[in-house]
């Protein structure tokens, strides 16, 4: 019982950390989009008001995968691992 709880908590926390690797993707993507937007505004400064909402919209959509991974990490920590936390703490004597 205790061993099982320890394994579940360890696996869930490791999984949460691994899930957040997905944060790389939105970082690269949004940086690329922002760079292109700066290029566009640099070429045509008067197009600023048209480019800015499109940039934010594109960034928001590109961010989805990162948000999904964050939600999965939160579920792993606070839904899967949290109920076993007391058993693990008792087993480890903390």
């Amino acid at each position: 019982m205790e061993m099982g709880a320890v394994i579940i908590v360890a696996a869930a926390l490791l999984g949460a950390g691994l899930a957040m690797i997905a944060g790389i993707g939105p970082g690269i993507g949004e940086g690329y989009a922002a760079g292109k937007a700066v290029e566009a505004i640099g070429r045509q400064p008067e197009s600023r008001n048209e480019v800015l909402p499109l940039l934010l919209l594109g960034d928001a959509v590109a961010e989805s995968t990162g948000i999904y991974s964050l939600v999965i990490a939160l579920i792993l920590i606070f839904v899967i691992a949290a109920p076993f936390m007391n058993v693990v703490k008792a087993a480890l004597g903390i």
Binding site: P53, L56, L70, I77
Partner: protein, 217 residues
Amino acid sequence: MSGDGPRIFFQLGPVPITETIVVTWIIMIALVIFAVIVTRNLRRVPKGSQHMAEIIVEGVGGYLIDNLMGPGNRHYVPFIGTIMIYVTCSNLIGTVPGFRAPTADLNTDIAIALLVYIVSNAAGIRSKGVIKYVKSFFEPFFLMFPINLVGELAKPVSHAFRLFGNMVGGIFIIGIMFMFVPWVIPSGLSLWFDIAQGMIQAFVFTMLAVAYIAVAK
């Protein structure tokens, strides 16, 4: 810690009255009072607080609706404007000590996202007609139906989780930082996550709502 979710104040029959609901009531009362004060005596030439209301209406109508939906869609301004004001106030109220932003509770986000989803589909049916609307699920050819269906159902989910993930992520990072450095640094992080991110995410949420309705039309 902050991972416990919103506190439950009391039970009203089977419904737990949480912090989210109480803070939402406070925001609702504040917004209703604001709206009543601002529109009490409207004039053709605006004076005093009427400027503020006109800036909000013109900003939503001119900047969001006309830019993303095209002109002639100003009847969406009340709906979109309400979402924008409410989400902005909810995100910003997280800076007040003791208040938890209602948007950091998934129930609020899912509720608004489902509202936008229903409105966007209703707008699609109204502008295209039922047959064309159903047919749009079978494009480009009929085997694409499951993919189109999943794509359509993913819209409200990603819409809600985006706001929820951003707000809750901010609360968690501030909470974890608070355990290491209880002074100075959490307030700086709060400045970024609650105020800057809160306003950006409120704008993005509103803009995505407009974009979903514009795409469905």
